[in-house]
């Protein structure tokens, strides 16, 4: 495997009060692939990706993006390097139209080019099936559509690395299928780091899986390797030999 990496962490640690939400996490993310980050509730997954995107300040440790140490860059600068981030709890601009939401996401790169900008927004909306709802106010959308909108806002940035924190949570079955097709279409050009509880999604789309447990990496590898890992079975999949 030894794929080229786009992002690495060394000793990444986050301590809340006395609690280590992440402890010495060393991680390598393969470029152009879909990597799933899994682990039980409270394992520290959101904290980990929060430290990658800069939304959460690390207690210690380093983050390298395309070989560059970005540990001390503020979040907006990391995003400007080509990271996009969707939140576990849906985060859009509630009072603005669907079109304006996507427009703002595309606008950082394309605001000076109105034609490209409008085309980009239209293209992204079409890609996620929100074209008919472009004029609706985001807060009037169903929960599922708001999640899809947030994904669209990620796409609109043409990210090199797209981090999604439980994107399929609350989506209907058909929407989940659309989502899987969407990110499989992105992979190759875009690297995807996906936090996901739905094991069916993970097993179907992930090229690699990293398992976090109690703030530490328990295992990393291909789905087969991780599935076969006894520690993972015991701690997480609940199908372990000694369970």
């Amino acid at each position: 495997m030894a794929a080229v990496s786009i992002l690495e962490t060394k000793g990444l640690t986050k301590i809340y009060g006395g609690l280590a939400a992440n402890e010495d996490v060393d991680f390598v993310l393969a470029r152009g692939k879909i990597t799933a980050l899994i682990g039980p509730n409270g394992a520290g997954k959101s904290t980990f990706v929060g430290m990658l995107s800069g939304r959460i300040e690390a207690t210690r440790g380093q983050v390298f993006f395309e070989g560059r140490d970005i540990s001390h860059l503020p979040a907006h600068k990391r995003i400007q390097l080509g990271l996009a981030y969707t939140f576990q709890i849906t985060s859009v601009f509630p009072g603005l139209s669907v079109y304006d939401n996507v427009g703002l996401a595309a606008g950082r790169l394309l605001a000076g080019k109105p034609n490209l900008h409008a085309a980009k927004a239209a293209e992204v909306l079409a890609r996620v099936g929100l074209t008919d709802r472009a004029d609706q106010i985001a807060s009037d959308l169903s929960y599922g559509h708001q999640r899809v909108l947030e994904i669209a806002m990620g796409l609109a940035q043409d990210p090199k690395l797209f981090i999604l924190d439980e994107p399929t949570q609350g989506l209907a079955e058909s929407e989940i299928a659309d989502f899987m097709a969407l990110i499989q279409g992105l992979a190759g050009d875009t690297t995807i780091l996906l936090i996901e509880h739905n094991m069916r999604v993970v097993m179907e789309v992930a090229d690699y899986i990293t398992v976090l447990d109690g703030g530490r990496t328990l295992a990393s590898g291909t789905p087969e390797e991780v599935r076969a890992n006894a520690a993972v079975q015991a701690a997480y999949l609940g199908t372990g030999v000694d369970a």
Partner: protein, 314 residues
Amino acid sequence: MTAHGKSWVLHGGVLALLFALFFVLPTYHSGQLSRIMVLAIYAMGFNILFGYTGLLSLGHAMFFAAGMYGFGLTVNLAGFPMPVAFLFAILVAAALALVAGGLALRTAGVSFMIVTLMFAQAAYLVVLYFGEYTRGDEGFVVAREGRMIAGIDLSTDAGRYFCAWVLFGVCFLALAKLIKLPFGKRLIAIRENEERARMLGYDTSRYKLMAFVTSGAVSGMAGATYGLLFGYVGASFAAVPYSIFPLLWVLLGGAGTTIGPLIGVFFMFYLIDISSGYTNAYMLIAGLVLVLLTLFAPQGLAGSLRQKVMPWLP
């Protein structure tokens, strides 16, 4: 018609109406209206920060006063020509906003309100402390030379009205344009969800400071215009009520709408004007109407219009 087209018709229509009103209104009312237009500039400046960026400052009187004193003192004491004094006044307000904003924006929410309030209080005390020049509460009258431009006397009814109209119009149209530009949209994004805006790669701290300085500069311009057209500069314009008024006007008229500030100032002026004709307890009536409006039209007058019948209202 597109939303864009409707918006320009509205803005053009409002300006045309204001222009025409001078010729039909009795002097008393056209005088009131010139004051309303000047204070609406102040309310629009406040609205940039409060209505569009979502930041509530309780200290904007310092910018209004900075503009007013920046103008009046340089005319009277330094003998600056009017246009120079006017531009200087705006710069003073902008510089003060850069400093006050730079510090206040390290805080958020209630602390931000308190810090801006304290800054304004300090500015008020500075005005009183330098009473030798500012004449404190008593204030001073702006020299006549400072109220002329190109031979036009701005202290006449017509001079005052049309100068107020031009400056109001420039701000009104500029702000309508501003909120359609990427900069304006990003301010709105910060109001809607700052964390999301930041996580789209926008340097929200920088945008908030830019909004603060723009807001302070426009408020300062309103203060300078007030001094220019009404010829009086006094410490009461730096005091707490003048920080609260723009909030009331904007809330009444509709925060985050371009037309709201004008409607709010107009409404409040005539509410007090009319009710004081009936009773001495006019502030009670004004207060009651404000409470009712806040209860039944929490988006303000223009905000309610936008919600119910004119979704395109900018």
